[in-house]
Amino acid sequence: MRRAAFLAGAGLCLLPWLALPVAADEAHLVRDASREAYSLPFAGLGEYELERFRRGRGLFRQAWEVAPARDEDSDGLGPLYNRLTCAGCHPGNGRGRAPQGPDERMQSMLVRLSVEGRDPHGGPLPHPVYGEQFNEEAIPGVPGEGRAAVEWTYSEVVLADGERVELRRPRLVFKELGYGPLGRFMHSMRVGPPVFGLGLLEAVPQATLEALAAEAKPDGVRGRVNRVWSVERGETVAGRFGLKANAPDLRQQIASAMLGDLGITTTLFPAQNCTPAQTACRAAPDGGQPELMNAQLGDLEFYFAHLAVPARRDADAPQVRQGEALFGALGCALCHRPALTTGAHERFPRLSKRRIEPYTDLLVHDMGEGLADGRPDYLAGGREWRTPPLWGLGLLERVNGHGELLHDGRARNVLEAVLWHGGEAQAARDRVIRLPRAEREALLAFLRSL
């Protein structure tokens, strides 16, 4: 049978990664299923490290102020921005969500913009007037860019056992544009993803990613390493953060979030986020140069690097085991890799040589037309997305009070997320549609145990 043959293949390709020598301890795991489950540090951090972790956390949660303010460590917001805090889009270090209707604002979602073409490093070409990200908010005296609203259209899928699943798809509507018509452009709606365990993902060697991409896989599954510009290194390297693996490392990811989402400059991105057409923006006062000090950037990096991963729950329950086997058999594990091993992390040795279970390959995959945003980001095309890690998935409801998934938050639960899979994941998704109910329940039980 096709499925049985498939299982054997998946087993083979995973084995080499299990064989490497790894740290025996599980300091990167936390046994906590509370609302804080995504927010706890690695076990065993020393007092100095905890102090750094707390400083990073403080920066992640603090609200930024319009310059000048008495506390120079927290001023420099904008001129254009989306939210006042980082945590706003990553609540509880978990997931944001899309607005539920056209009158709701984007509280934890953003819209990337670009026009046809490439920047000098092969990245997206920012919109000439609105820049690379639509910033709804602005400091006093500077016009905001307008309002981005979401309207939903609904459709339905019928599973083999007759169960009907409603799906919804967002449609973006711009209102109150602050700088005139947008003209021809591309856009990408993205909700804030979870931010724990990222140091471990950073520590996965680039060679591993390349080997994963090069492996022959069944089902038409490919996967490739995005290659993106590293500002600090001045060269093109493997991308791993961002929903299209469009950022090379944590530092640059943080610095670009600082600039793009809050309007805070760093040594990596020292210029304010104003386009030439945004004159009031260009004339606005800044909060020092840069607004985020290098030491603060380092604290934030330390924080993300040492946010631990929730340990699995109920992993040995028979239904969960059955679901785990199905996860492999259906072809999910081809992209959502159950296990990887980290290499040596130069600055944060606690991340080194660990066997981790992130359920991602950090590669970008063609996910079909249904999920496409049509906006290329370096090598990742308009239909491609990075396989998101699935660790901690079962605690999403507890932490965030909702179970919404996928890059734009369209899926209201895991089953909807799977039903949206297309492209390279079409075969896996079709198998799920055909599953008998009990097996589908087992698959979902397994995903809840993550």
Partner: protein, 443 residues
């Protein structure tokens, strides 16, 4: 991929293609077209993200004709902004900083709120929570008290403290987390609650001992609860909501409200020059509505509503300060304390802290005192040396002195520095004398 045009609805065929194999029934919801742009309501606040985003979402849902623009400022900067001509375009100030609201009122920076306040008491116990003239109105309350780890207290054999005197227990040495009143915003009121409850002299004497048993928390109110746990502090002095959020998140902690309690009200006010007074009033009314008040009980917020009728709908065990006040708690008078909070905090820092090394020295002194007392010595005189403030309650009420301290809230002054150095000198002399006498006693 081609260039996307977002205002064009994706065709039915495209959705079908995307969904591929499964049988598909497609129904498109009708599109709501954009109405007139909502008018902005600019709210200046110093609340954390969880609070801002919950109220933002709920207010805009309830009043789609308005769009909230939240701006964040620490109270001292907020004051500067709101005293500027034009008040930076702010409609509403919403924060937990009674002193800032007082200053705004004095400088005529506010206008009457003018919304229906029925069902909202203006007083709680000894404290007037809303302004007599209706210029600022309480929106929520925070209660002071003790966060503790039941297992840690049990290990030390110390019962859960019911009131402040219970904290002066030598078995708690090094295990009380105390927010430094000169650095942590909510802590000065803690100091003053004790001074009002027991009187100036007895109050300072009590603080002298508690400070000698404590570990200092120098930043961030939330840090107190974090310090409480195995191998760290057994108890900490805090505000309820920091702790309630940690408990809701799963921390093995409890919170106790002392018999002599205190509350810190947050307020809302409409600026004198509000560009959108109707919108500002709508926001204030929303905060005070049943719906707005119930949001305060969210797991990640946990503030105390000011609308008593709301408590009936909250989870069992939710602290009801109105009920506690009716039973005699909350005699603390915030207004009486407000004028001297900065003075009291400064005095505390000079008498018992004097920097990290200073505090270590002070703690060592108390551990010697407790050891000698365990050996049967009578050290009342040495205790008096450490616990007597360099000025009387009356001297501390001198309007000229208080005026100096009030300005400190807005900036430093040389005059103030002289006074502070004087207190520091007094304290250093007292510490030295206590050490000399202990040594003479062989303690």
């Amino acid at each position: 991929m081609g260039v996307a045009t977002p205002d064009v609805l994706p065709g039915r065929r495209r959705v079908l293609a995307a969904l591929g194999g499964g049988a598909l029934l497609c129904g498109l919801a009708p599109l709501a077209r954009a109405q007139a742009a909502p008018s902005p309501v600019v709210v200046l606040t110093s609340y954390p993200e969880e609070m801002m985003s919950r109220f933002e979402a709920a207010f805009e849902r309830a009043h789609p004709q308005y769009r909230l623009q939240l701006r964040w400022r620490r109270p001292s900067d907020a004051l500067t902004d709101l005293l500027k001509p034009g008040q930076d375009g702010v409609d509403v100030y919403w924060a937990a900083s009674p002193r800032t609201f007082e200053r705004l009122k004095e400088t005529k920076a506010l206008q009457t709120l003018g919304i229906d306040l029925s069902g909202l008491p203006a007083k709680l116990g000894g404290t007037r929570i809303s302004d007599v003239d209706g210029l600022f109105v309480a929106t929520e309350l925070a209660g002071y008290g003790y966060v503790y780890a039941p297992a840690e207290l049990a290990r030390l054999g110390v019962p859960v403290p019911q009131d402040w005197r219970d904290l002066a227990d030598p078995r708690l040495a090094g295990r009380i987390a105390l927010p430094d009143p000169s650095r942590v915003g909510f802590a000065p009121v803690l100091v003053d609650i004790v001074l009002q409850a027991y009187g100036w002299e007895a109050g300072w004497a009590l603080w002298s001992e508690i400070a000698g048993l404590s570990t200092l928390i120098r930043s961030g109110g939330g840090r107190v609860a974090e310090e409480v746990g195995p191998g760290r502090a057994a108890i900490g002095l805090s505000i309820d909501f920091f702790v309630a959020a940690a408990i809701a998140g799963g921390a093995p902690l409890r919170f106790a409200y002392p018999l002599h309690g205190g509350i810190n009200p947050a307020h809302v006010a409409l600026t004198a020059g509000a560009p959108n007074p109707a919108g500002g009033r709508a926001f204030a009314a929303f905060l005070l509505s049943e719906e707005g008040q119930r949001l305060l009980a969210a797991e990640d917020i946990r503030k105390l509503p000011v609308r008593p009728s709301v408590y009936a709908t909250l989870p069992a065990g939710y602290h009801d300060p109105f009920a506690a006040a009716a039973a005699g708690g909350y005699a603390y008078d915030n207004e009486a304390g407000r004028a001297r909070l900065t003075l009291v905090a400064t005095l505390f820092a000079q008498m018992f802290i004097q920097g990290e090394q200073g505090h270590e020295r002070y703690v060592a002194l108390w551990s010697r005192i407790h050891a000698a007392e365990r050996a049967g010595r009578d050290l009342r005189q040495i205790r008096a040396l450490l616990g007597t403030p360099p000025l009387s309650e009356r001297a501390a009420a001198d309007p000229a002195l208080l005026a100096l301290f009030r300005e400190r809230f807005e900036g430093e002054s040389a005059e103030l520095e002289r006074i502070e150095v004087g207190w520091q000198w007094e304290a250093v002399k007292a510490w030295g004398e206590a050490e000399r006498r202990l040594a003479a006693l062989g303690a």
